[in-house]
Amino acid sequence: MDATNKKLPPRERKNEWPKYLAWAFVAALIIWAFVGMPAFAIKPNAGQIGGSIMSGIFHPDWAYVYRGDGEDLVSTLLQTIAIAFIGTFISAIVSLPFAFWAANTKHEFWLVTRSGKFLLTAIRTFPEIVLALMFIKAVGPSAFAGVLAVGFHSVGMLAKLFSEAIENLDNGAGESVTSAGGTRMDVTMLATIPQLLPELISNTLYRFELAIRSASILGIVGAGGIGTPLIFAISARAWSRVGIILLGIVIMVTLVDFISGSIRKKLI
């Protein structure tokens, strides 16, 4: 080995200023938020209520699971799944044209793509609850309003995922259809769609997993599903009812995630 008597050279400094600034920004944001916040006011009997909820969760109202009146746990959970399922299905169909609009392929003029992406962001940000209330105005307080809210709101994300799938498409197969004398439509039917379809189905399933969570919420405003009995049980302080409903939601979401996840794994 060489003689190792050289001094440790000073560290070479590249420009680290943006990094420090970013850190300072994050730190400042956190400090700002904590400092300006009003005191953590908590109801004096919070501990007691928390205790009753815990005891309710551990002593669920089993009788509510099935009563046969259509208002019980199993019926409302099934309705929740139905809202998510048909809502996602509708949104998948609506998403297709939007996806082609927003996809940034080389034939497209940049303004087309930009405006499409902007519209999708707007749809994603529009609060789903507000949307549900608007649809309730149109079709009455029903599960159908929930379907419409899920179906419309999901377009924002689903069309974005679809457009990304279109952008990442390998157009080699399309080239081979063209070289065999195919028209543009032939390319779409024989190359684009067969390559795209598994991706689209996988995206739709993923969105379905999220739609299940949305559909559980929409009942709060009267758009069907498990949310309605839950909000009633909470305001009536029927904690063992709350317990069984939470249990039901956890099981439903876990099952749906598991089934949908294993189908997605098989697809890709």
Partner: protein, 267 residues
Amino acid sequence: MADRKMAAPQMTLPKKPFGWEKLIVTILMIAGILWSAGETNVDIPMFFANFDQFMKIFDQMMSPDWSYTSYVIAPLIETIKMAVIGTTIGALVAAPYAFLVSRNIIQNRFVTGILRFILNIIRTIPDLLLAALFVAVVGIGPVAGIITLAIFTFGMVGKLFYEAVETIDEGPIEALTASGANKWEIVRYAVIPQVSSYFVSYFLYAFEINVRASTVLGYVGAGGIGVFLQQALGQFRYDRVSIMVLVIFAVVLVIDYVSLKTREVLM
């Protein structure tokens, strides 16, 4: 050169093996759609018949009550603060927890199994339902929102982060183990350097999502602009609703952009 003749093609095309799987999936899909449509009373013609009702609201939203803007600034800032605090608390709890459920750090399958089970259960409960629950416990106000966002963040960042920890390069761990390091030293010198940038990235990502989520938490009484949103909706003041929707949209766009740039710099 071509040493063998081309196989003479004489055989007729064999029958296609029947695709049971595809058939079953198709039938299930159609059955699912029909059942869901029946279960939820889907009635598209009715929707179009009443579409003018929907458009009436939309018309009102198209002429926003600009004078209301000044009233929503304060609750909007409260919303952002809720999101920051909730994200910070949730992420800080999630970080050590993620190490505890990573199978390459904790070898005890029983411990990781139980802790993961808890994490997964937390992830299944929708944010607005959690908020409704915490409003009942701690009372109306931003505290319920902060707790909700913290728990929500914990579930999200916890999962993302442990997946990052589990996919790190095992080489440095092996090297440190070989040189006699204990568990803490391994985490400090072999694991944390590999995952710290992920953590920052997930923190900001969760923040983006939480800003969106926090805007509606007020609907069930958990503070922020959602409280005003609920009032305006209750009074059918759609001109005010649209102001809030617009303001929320603007804030989300700005925060997404700032967060993206920050992530780029820090990664």
